[in-house]
Symmetry: C2
Subunit: 147 residues, 2 copies
């Protein structure tokens, strides 16, 4: 019996968007914006390009989300003094103050999904999903699938 992993991955993605839309509403954040904040909590001051690469999000989408986060007061931007093409993105006090509450909501989603599962299984699944991501990184569909 062949398995089709795409269906479940799509469902979990769509449902997570719905969850975050509601869970982050009180912070005036959307499901598209929070991933950038989450990475900035680990690496404040990185460039938009770094954010795009880490999240595998198109640089156009990154530009728009970062712009929105700036307007909402969560981040500021400043050009690199040496390489004037680069925008460095920094967390504002607002972002820092609310970080624990925001993170709590974000991790809650993972907890909901893995609730009741034993720790070995959840570790394994995280590990395997990460492996899949690194595999995807090495692919190049646009040319490969032209057969």
């Amino acid at each position: 019996m062949k398995k089709h992993i795409g269906r479940v991955l799509s469902i979990l993605h769509r449902q997570s968007q719905i969850y975050f839309t509601h869970a982050l509403k009180e912070f005036n954040l959307t499901s598209a914006e929070y991933p950038f904040l989450m990475y900035l909590y680990k690496q404040d001051g990185i460039t938009q390009d770094n954010l795009s690469s880490y999240l595998y999000i198109d640089k156009a989408a990154t530009a728009r989300s970062i712009k929105s986060l700036e307007q909402k007061g969560y981040i500021t931007r400043s050009k690199d003094t040496k390489d004037k093409r680069c925008n460095h993105v920094y967390l504002t006090p607002l972002a820092k103050e609310t970080s624990e509450d925001i993170k709590k909501r974000v991790f809650h989603w993972s907890e909901l999904l893995t609730e009741g599962m034993d720790i070995e299984s959840t570790d394994l699944i995280y590990c395997m999903l990460e492996t899949m991501v690194t595999k995807v990184e090495q692919m190049n569909f646009k040319t490969e699938t032209e057969d």
Copy 2:
């Protein structure tokens, strides 16, 4: 160390959209449309509502994808004779002729992701992802998260 499963699920979802956009281009199918065909291959003649429920896709999105599949000649629709609200969706000869080739492309994506993993692990991950989907099914964020 807290884990955030959302990031990897999002990445895999977005990358799969990119893969399917290219892999199904020669069939004139999009990443949004193929999931409906996949389910119809198992259950020809079901209603749009059934498709929405199975795929956890909003009925509005289903309506638009089904309309597009109809225009492309992959499916036909007919109203239920007893319950005139329901649209039954049927595969056309075109859909049936191309089914094996389409399925091959779809399963190829799963194979790429799980390549090199042992069968016990992939079985487990499918099982756990399915479990997560059933969990999501029982949630109701819209009200729950209003705390």
